[in-house]
Symmetry: C2
Subunit: 448 residues, 2 copies
C-alpha cells in the first residue's frame, strides 16, 4: 500500500491488531515501558506543576470518574488524562525512543488509564491499546522529524506526535472501526501542537499532557460521528506537509506488525534531558574512580553530540525546569555530589555554591562524530592533573538498557513519600502482570 494512504494504513493496522499478535519481545518491552511511565506518573504527582494545574482546572471539572494518580481527588476522564500525563513527564524522567527522539508513553498511558475507569477494559486490551499508541507516535515522529525526513528541532516532537498516539490508543479501547480510527487520527492531527521554546518551564510537561487529553477527546469525538479529513497525515496541506520540510511517510507505514518501534524505547536513569546522560555517566565514573573533590576541579571539557548543545546548553538555570535541560548543571551536580537523582534538580541543588561554581567551569563543544549516547569528558584538576573518559553507550541507551530490576528500583524510589512501601511493591508486581488483570482500572485505583 502506498504512502498516499498512510492514514488508512495506520488505521487498518490498529483496528485489526490483536493482543496475541504481539511477539514476546514487543509485549515485554511494552510492559517495561508501562512500568517505567507509571512509576513516573506516581512520582511526579506531588510536583508543583501538577498542583497548579489541578488548582486552575478543577473548578471546571466534570464527573469524578477517574483517578488522579498519587492524589486524593478523582476527576473527569478528560482532565484526569491531562493531569496524569503531566505527572508522568514533570520530572522529565519518562521514556525516550532512541530513534524517534520522543517521549511516547505518557500520553498513551494517561489516555488509556482514564478511559479504563469509564468502561470495562481488560489488562490485555489495555496493554495492546497502549502499545499501538506508542507505536503510532514513534513512527509518526520518524516520518516527520528524523532523517531522511527533514524536520525542524523547533517543534516539540513529543507534543506534535503523541496526541495522535493517544488518539490511536483511545480509539482502540473504544473499538472504533477503520473510519472511526481514521477520524480519531485526523481530529488529533488538527490539534497537534508543541514548540520547543517551552523547554525549561512547566509547559514542557504540559505539551504531552495537552496531547494526551486532545488525543483522547479526538477519539471520543470520532466515536460520536465528528468528521475530519480521513487522510490527515498525508493529505495536501496535511500533518506531514505542515511539520516536515520533506516527510518520509514510509517510516510510518512500512513493516507495521512486523517491525516494532517499542523495541527501541529507552528509560532514563537520570531525571533530565537524555542528551545529558552520557556526560553524567562519565562524571559519576570519573569521580568514583579518582575520588575527585569538586574543589580541585579547574575545568571540565566535553565533546558531545551537537543535539546536546542545541537542546541543553543552559549555563545558568533559574529553576528546576531550566536545570532539567542544563548540561552544565548536571555535569556539575554529578561531580559535586556523586549522584544524579530528582534531588539534584531541586532548588537546593541549583543554589548550592559548589554546584553553581562548577557550572561556570564546564565547557562543551559540539562534535558530530560523537554519537548521541556518548560523550568525551576531560577534567582538569588542580596541580595539572587530568583525567578523562570517552564514554560510549550511556546507561539507559538502546545499547545498554536499564534492567527490569533497575526499573523497579526507579519506580520504588519515585513512589517514596507518595504510596506506602507495601502498596508500591504490590503495584509494581501488578504492573508486570498487567495483561493478566481482568480490570486494568484497578491499577489506577491502587495508585490513588
Amino acid at each position: 500500500m502506498s504512502e498516499q494512504q498512510a492514514t488508512a494504513r495506520l488505521a487498518e493496522y490498529a483496528v485489526a491488531a490483536r493482543a496475541g499478535d504481539l511477539p514476546e519481545a514487543a509485549r515485554r518491552e511494552t510492559l517495561r515501558s508501562f512500568v517505567n511511565v507509571f512509576g513516573c506518573m506516581v512520582g511526579g504527582s506531588r510536583h508543583e506543576a501538577v498542583e497548579v494545574a489541578e488548582r486552575a482546572l478543577l473548578p471546571f471539572a466534570g464527573p469524578p470518574e477517574a483517578t488522579v494518580v498519587g492524589r486524593s481527588r478523582r476527576t473527569d476522564v478528560l482532565l484526569a488524562s491531562l493531569l496524569n500525563c503531566l505527572s508522568s513527564s514533570v520530572h522529565t524522567y519518562d521514556d525516550t525512543h532512541a530513534e524517534a527522539i520522543i517521549h511516547p508513553s505518557g500520553p498513551a498511558a494517561a489516555a488509556a488509564l482514564a478511559l479504563a475507569e469509564r468502561m470495562p477494559v481488560s489488562g490485555a486490551d489495555f496493554l495492546l491499546a497502549f502499545h499501538l499508541g506508542v507505536e503510532a507516535a514513534c513512527r509518526l515522529s520518524k516520518a516527520v522529524s528524523v532523517a531522511p525526513a527533514k524536520g525542524s528541532i523547533a517543534w516539540s516532537q513529543t507534543g506534535i506526535c503523541c496526541g495522535i498516539g493517544a488518539a490511536v490508543t483511545a480509539a482502540k479501547l473504544l473499538a472504533l472501526n477503520e473510519k472511526g480510527m481514521r477520524r480519531a487520527i485526523g481530529i488529533a492531527a488538527s490539534q497537534a501542537a508543541g514548540i520547543r521554546a517551552m523547554h525549561g518551564s512547566m509547559c514542557t510537561p504540559m505539551m504531552p499532557a495537552h496531547s494526551a487529553q486532545a488525543g483522547l477527546r479526538a477519539a471520543l469525538l470520532a466515536e460520536a460521528g465528528f468528521t475530519t479529513s480521513e487522510s490527515a497525515l498525508e493529505a495536501r496541506y496535511g500533518f506531514a506537509a505542515c511539520f516536515a520540510e520533506s516527510a518520509n511517510l514510509a517510516a510510518l507505514t512500512d513493516g507495521l506488525g512486523e517491525r516494532f518501534e517499542i523495541l527501541a524505547n529507552t528509560y532514563k536513569p537520570y531525571p533530565c534531558g537524555i542528551v545529558i546522560h552520557p556526560m553524567i555517566d562519565a562524571c559519576l565514573q570519573l569521580k568514583r574512580e579518582h575520588a575527585i573533590d569538586h574543589a580541585e576541579v579547574e575545568k571540565v571539557s566535553i565533546r558531545a553530540n551537537p543535539a546536546a548543545l542545541a537542546l541543553c546548553d543552559r549555563r545558568h538555570p533559574r529553576d528546576e525546569f531550566e536545570a532539567q535541560v542544563s548540561l552544565q548543571h548536571w555535569t556539575a551536580a554529578a561531580l559535586a555530589r556523586g549522584r544524579a537523582g530528582v534531588r539534584e534538580c531541586g532548588e537546593e541543588a541549583i543554589r548550592e555554591p559548589a554546584i553553581a561554581s562548577l557550572r561556570e567551569r564546564v565547557e562543551a563543544t559540539a562534535d558530530p562524530a560523537v554519537a548521541p549516547d556518548s560523550a568525551d569528558v576531560e577534567i582538569a584538576l588542580s596541580g595539572g592533573r587530568k583525567v578523562e573518559r570517552k564514554l560510549r553507550h550511556c546507561i539507559g541507551s538502546a545499547a545498554r538498557p536499564m534492567t527490569d530490576a533497575e526499573l523497579e528500583a526507579k519506580f520504588a524510589g519515585l513512589a517514596e513519600g507518595v504510596l506506602p512501601a507495601e502498596a508500591t511493591a504490590q503495584l509494581i508486581a501488578d504492573c508486570w502482570r498487567l495483561d493478566e488483570l481482568g480490570d486494568a482500572a484497578a491499577l489506577a485505583r491502587a495508585a490513588a
Copy 2:
C-alpha cells in the same frame, strides 16, 4: 522596543489598554465584529457538528455556569467556549481580516462570553478584551503568514493564531499583570494548532473552537501561576520560528495602540470561503441583468486570484463542509438559484441536478494580477452569446464593507428558527449598546 521583546511588548500593551483609549472608529468596528460573530454563533448553534460535539463532550462537563448559545443546556465555562466558537464558525459565515486572512472574532468572543458568566464583566470591559484578542490574533497572523513574512498556506492561520488571541482576551478579563499576560500568551503558543487539510469537514470549525478553549485555559493556568517561556513568540525555537520560514515580528508589535487591525476586518455576505465571494457577486449580477436560465449556460470561465484555486478548487463536494470551500459549487448555485445563503450549501442544493450539472461547466484559472476581492467571470450561453463581468471589490470586502443594516439583516436571518423574532431584535439592539451594559453576560443568557 525591539522585536526581540515581541511577547513582552504585546503583553505590556494589552495590560495597559483602557476602553477609553480606543478611537471611535476602532470601537465601532469592534462592535460591528461582535454583532456579526454573535449572529453567527446563534445561527450555527443547531448545526449537526455542534450537536455531535455536545453529545460527545457533555458526559465530561463540569458545573453548568455558562450558556451554550442557542441551545437548551448550560455547561462549564471551558466547554462553553469550545461549543460557542464551534457554532460561530460552523457555517463559515464569520469574519475575515482582509490582510491577516484569518477569522479572528469567534475564539475571542467565545472565550469572553464564557468567562463573563463566571465573574462580573461590564460591557465596556468585555468589548475592550474582545478587541485586544482580535488585534493580537490578526497581528500575529501578519507576523508569521503574510508577506513580507514567509509562512505556509498549509497551516490554518485561524487555528494557530486565534488561541493566543483568546488567551489575551481572557487574561485581560482576569486582570492579569504583565507577567501573567506573557504567560497566558506562552501557554497558548505551546498549544497553537491547525492544519488546512481539515477544510471541508467538521474539523474546520473545530480548529477555532479548540483554540478558543485552549486560549481561555491558558489564561486560567497563567492566573494560577503555571509557568512558561515568557518570550514564546520570538524565542529561539518559539512560535515564530515554528510557523514561519521567516517571520516579520514588526507586524505584531509596530504601532500597537496607534494602528488598529480591527479596521480591516470584513464580514461575509455569503456562508463560504471568502475567496469565492467575488465570483458569487459576479454571477448574481449577471444572472439578474441578463435573466440567465441555468439550462442555457454552456461554460463559466473564471480568472481568479491564485488563493481561490489553492483553497477552493473542489468540483465535487460530497457534503456541506466540502461545498463551503468549493468555488465550482457556489458559482453554480448562484447561477442556478440567484441567491447564495445557508440553504445554498445544504444537502438539497448539493444534490440539485441543475447545480450539479453546472459545477461541471465551471473552469477557473489562477491569475496573480487579479486581486483577492475581484474576479473576471465570462459566461458562454447557448447560441454563441457571451456575457462577462470584471468584478472588482466584492460585497463584504474592505473596499465595499457590509453596512450596519446588512449586518443586522444577516443576524436576523441567522437567528430565524433559533430565537423568537422579538428576542432577536432585542438582542441585536443590546449588542449595539454592548459597552453600556453593566453585565456582559446578559447577552449570553438572552441567546439561550
